[in-house]
């Protein structure tokens, strides 16, 4: 056996093959003029990069990339071209010179820098030997959650995640400001008109939607142990609602999950997250310091068997804090994704024309 394992093995081969696939797909997106093709290729790009991320030992990111890139992004993009136009015009080649120069400059700087970077997989590079390793060593004792990514995401860098939830909320606010919230005068024809062609879809959807929601909950609560967490679960939950809207019509879905409810839930998620932080602060800790989530006299009363035996008793606050903030993430992400979908789907081409005339 060699003294230091190199990465020149099947992993590297898979890595390079997948990256070449990414490059080919990106090249195809550059070349294509059809927007529909570009969107489908973008979905493929996301899926391939998700696979690549698994090879790179980042299953959480892979999961997110798959649900976001190939899921939500594609839906939103399709909604957008439905409301605009499907073909991009080809410009004059002379107008490509300046962009090409900019790109070559940026690429040049990147490659210049890349030559100074440590080799792929170097365990003693500053990134892997300093803070990253410190998390792996400290997390089991500090947090007590097997998935270190979740521990860092929700606790060590919980404030970043708070910011991330706020960004999503801001996106919901932005889309609602642009496209409005609800059904307009003209919506897609009610489902009956579509006839009996869709009976298979409806039956399958009825079967699938509860399963998808259940899976979302699994992802949510499994986030401590494996890949998953509030964000992925939120997108999957939103996917259940979106599937309902696609199959049964937007009007039906909006009757069940009204835009107002979606908006409120989005705010509620952010408030829940902030609230956990404020409670920690009230109990004498710093913002989001889950060790202070329960005042000491309450913590003593909690029976040890509730969460994996007495040895994890000092992780009580961390466990509950992470659970609560992940719930906040779930609420905000799911509700915002639904709001965004409503924004695009609730706007028909007729609306667009009417708006243009006004």
């Amino acid at each position: 056996m060699i003294a230091e394992p190199t990465f020149f093995d099947v992993n590297l081969a898979i890595d390079i093959v997948l990256l070449v696939m990414l490059l080919v797909v990106a090249g195809a997106i550059v070349r294509t003029r059809s927007l529909l093709t570009a969107i489908i290729l973008f979905g493929i790009y996301s899926l391939v990069s998700a696979v690549w991320l698994v090879v790179m030992d980042a299953p959480d990111v892979a999961f997110t990339e798959a649900v976001v890139g190939a899921g939500i992004s594609t839906i939103v993009l399709l909604g957008a071209i439905l409301l605009t136009r499907g073909e991009a015009e080809r410009g004059d080649w002379r107008r490509l010179i300046a962009p090409a120069l900019v790109c070559v400059t940026v690429g040049g700087v990147l490659i210049y820098a890349a030559t100074g970077l440590p080799a792929l997989g170097d365990a003693s590079s500053p990134v892997n030997a300093y803070v990253g390793r410190a998390y792996l060593e400290a997390a089991p004792n500090d947090i007590g959650v097997p998935n270190t990514v979740t521990a860092v995401l929700a606790s060590y860098r919980g404030f970043d995640t708070f910011g991330e939830v706020v960004v999503i909320f801001a996106a919901g606010v932005g889309v609602a400001l642009m496209l409005g919230f609800g059904p307009r005068a003209s919506l897609a024809p009610p489902p009956q008109v579509m006839g009996d062609h869709h009976v298979v879809l409806r039956v399958a959807a009825k079967l699938l939607i509860p399963l998808i929601a259940l899976y979302a909950l699994y992802v949510q609560f499994h986030g401590d142990l494996g890949a998953g967490g509030g964000f992925q679960a939120g997108v999957i939950m939103a996917a259940a609602v979106i599937l309902h809207a696609l199959v049964f019509g937007l009007r039906e879905t909006m009757a069940a999950v009204t835009p107002k409810v979606a908006r409120s839930v989005a705010s509620l998620g952010v408030l829940l997250y902030a609230g956990v932080g404020v409670v920690c602060m009230m109990n004498g800790g710093l913002f989001l310091d889950y060790d202070y989530l329960f005042p000491p006299h309450i913590e003593k009363e909690i029976p040890g068997w509730l969460l994996g035996g007495p040895e994890s008793a000092h992780h009580w606050g961390q466990h509950f804090g992470i659970m609560l903030i992940e719930l906040g993430v779930l609420l905000t992400v799911a509700a915002t994704m639904v709001t965004i979908f409503y924004g695009f789907a609730g706007r028909s081409v007729d609306d667009a024309q009417r708006e243009a005339k006004r």
Partner: protein, 507 residues
């Protein structure tokens, strides 16, 4: 001298958490505003949230004066594992600036919003405004390079849509917002790439830790590329010449609430973040850093000051004039910072604060003038001083300050820049400042001439004076311009401490 040490603005229990409350307060208010049942309630929440942030900034001012820089560990984890907020004297200056600009803009919005935005969008507009404010406050107070990116995006994402809702008055707001979104996202992503390179070199994300480790590491291609990407990325967000293409459109067509707030704060927060990277994180002796400041940053800033002033002179739409003027003034600020001396940095920061005050006055006065007539172009404003004397007078004060008329804040600010440049022996900067100031006088002259001395076109609708709700914040700002022009001890003291903190490495 004013003693900030004695300033106990908030009870100790709150002061201990002030760095976090400064940011989280407006965020919670944003959620509440999105919930609010009526436009009026959301306005009240917006004012409350902004005032709360300003209150926390004041509390921090006392803390920083007493103990030096304040650190706050999010989640109780000390850096480099956790995210720390780090607020020094310069950070307090920025926090005070942003939060008080927020208070003024939100006060103003009570009357201005109904005239410019559809009623059903008021609550969300206020929510977006608060999000933007919280994001900017987070950017200036965080000590973590990646956390700064998150807050950069918090402040940007809402802003894009807020600029776009200016479409009700002028549909060009939409392409302007889209353009800003593209450029802003490229800027933010460049910043992330740059932080990634520094992360690769140091293994940490905490800015102080990064600086300490870079100082021992020395120069490498990775660090240089990180520097380049961070400066270009933040330069886009700061409208640094020649990366300012998005700014005129964004400022011109946004609703006046947003234009006022952005003109006072948005580019400044990015400038400040960039200054922190250049002075605090990058190693002092690094040749490429010095060379960059002397041969790229300063010349570009000088070019911006002159070229964009010329563009402002020839512009027809009044808000675009002010926007080009903003890019030119960003050049002034960067000139001061590029001196890399304590005097230069404090002059730059003083100019930054002064410019925020006067641009806010100008945009708000313009909002007041334009509320009743919806004017865009300079010639449409002909003679409005007759109908709206109070707004016009405040506009004149702001304009005088921008031009650097003695006895205004703007004069002092320019004076300090000149003094710092002379002290550093950079005569050419003085020359650039002189030329740019002359050009400023030219376009200011055009505005004043149109508003005060040109007769209104026959048969034009008469303008009305702005309501009291607009005049009150407007005249507070104009009054401050005058007051500080006479007795500048307060801003001077803040700026001196800030310059010390930024360059001297003093606590």
């Amino acid at each position: 001298m004013i003693s900030f040490e004695a300033l106990h603005a908030a009870p100790p229990a709150l002061t201990a958490h002030a760095p976090m409350l400064l940011v989280v307060g407006p965020l919670i208010a944003a959620c509440a505003a999105a919930f609010a049942p009526t436009s009026r309630t959301s306005w009240m929440i917006s004012v409350t949230g902004s005032i709360f942030a300003a209150w926390m900034a004041l509390a921090l001012l006392g803390e920083v004066a007493r103990h030096g820089a304040v650190d706050y560990f999010m989640g109780g984890f000390a850096p480099p594992l956790g995210i720390a907020f780090h607020i020094d004297a310069a950070g307090v200056l920025m926090a005070l600036l942003i939060s008080s600009a927020g208070v003024m803009a939100s006060l103003y919005s009570g009357h201005a919003l109904p005239a410019e935005v559809r009623a059903e969008k008021h609550t969300l507009t206020q929510a977006g405004f608060l999000l933007c404010q919280a994001g900017l406050l987070g950017m200036v107070s965080t000590g973590d390079a990646f956390n700064a990116f998150v807050f950069l995006e918090v402040s940007s994402i809402g802003t894009y849509a807020l600029i776009a809702i200016g479409e009700k008055r002028d549909r060009r707001a939409l392409p302007a917002a889209f353009n800003y979104l593209i450029m802003g996202t490229i800027g933010a992503t460049f910043y992330v790439v740059g932080v990634g390179f520094l992360f690769a070199a140091t293994g940490t994300l905490n800015m102080a830790d990064m600086g300490a480790r870079l100082a021992t590491l020395g120069d490498s291609s990775v660090v240089q590329a990180g520097f380049a990407f961070i400066v270009v990325g933040l330069g886009i967000k700061a409208a640094m010449f020649p990366l300012h293409g998005w700014l005129p459109g964004a400022y011109s067509y946004a609703p006046s609430l947003i234009a006022i707030f952005l003109a006072a704060t948005a580019t400044k927060a990015s400038i400040y973040l960039m200054a922190r990277f250049v002075f605090d994180v990058f190693p002092d002796g690094a040749a490429f850093g010095q060379g960059f400041i002397a041969w790229v940053l300063a010349p570009l800033a000088g070019t911006a000051a002159i070229v964009c002033s010329i563009q402002a002179v020839f512009e027809k739409e009044i808000r675009r004039m002010l926007a080009f003027s903003s890019v030119a003034q960003v050049g002034f600020i960067l000139l001061g910072l590029s001196l890399a001396t304590v005097a230069g940095a404090s002059a730059g920061l003083f100019y930054l604060a002064a410019h925020a005050l006067m641009k806010m006055t100008l945009f708000m006065a313009l909002g007041g003038l334009a509320i009743s007539i919806g004017a865009r172009r300079l010639d449409e404003l002909a003679g409005v001083a007759r109908d709206a004397p109070w707004s016009a007078a405040a506009f004149a004060i702001g304009a005088a300050s921008l031009a650097g008329v003695p006895l205004t804040l703007g004069f002092l600010a320019k004076w300090r820049l000149v003094a710092a440049a002379l002290e550093a022996g950079q005569i050419w900067i003085v020359a650039v400042l002189a030329i740019a100031s002359l050009l400023t006088l030219l376009y200011i002259g055009r505005m004043i001439e149109a508003i005060f001395f040109r007769p209104a076109p026959a048969g034009a609708p008469r303008a009305r004076e702005a309501p009291v709700g607009v005049l009150a914040p407007l005249w507070i700002l104009a009054g401050l311009s005058l007051w500080f022009g006479i007795d500048a001890s307060l801003p001077e003291q803040l700026a001196n401490a800030a310059g010390q903190a930024l360059i001297g490495g003093a606590p």
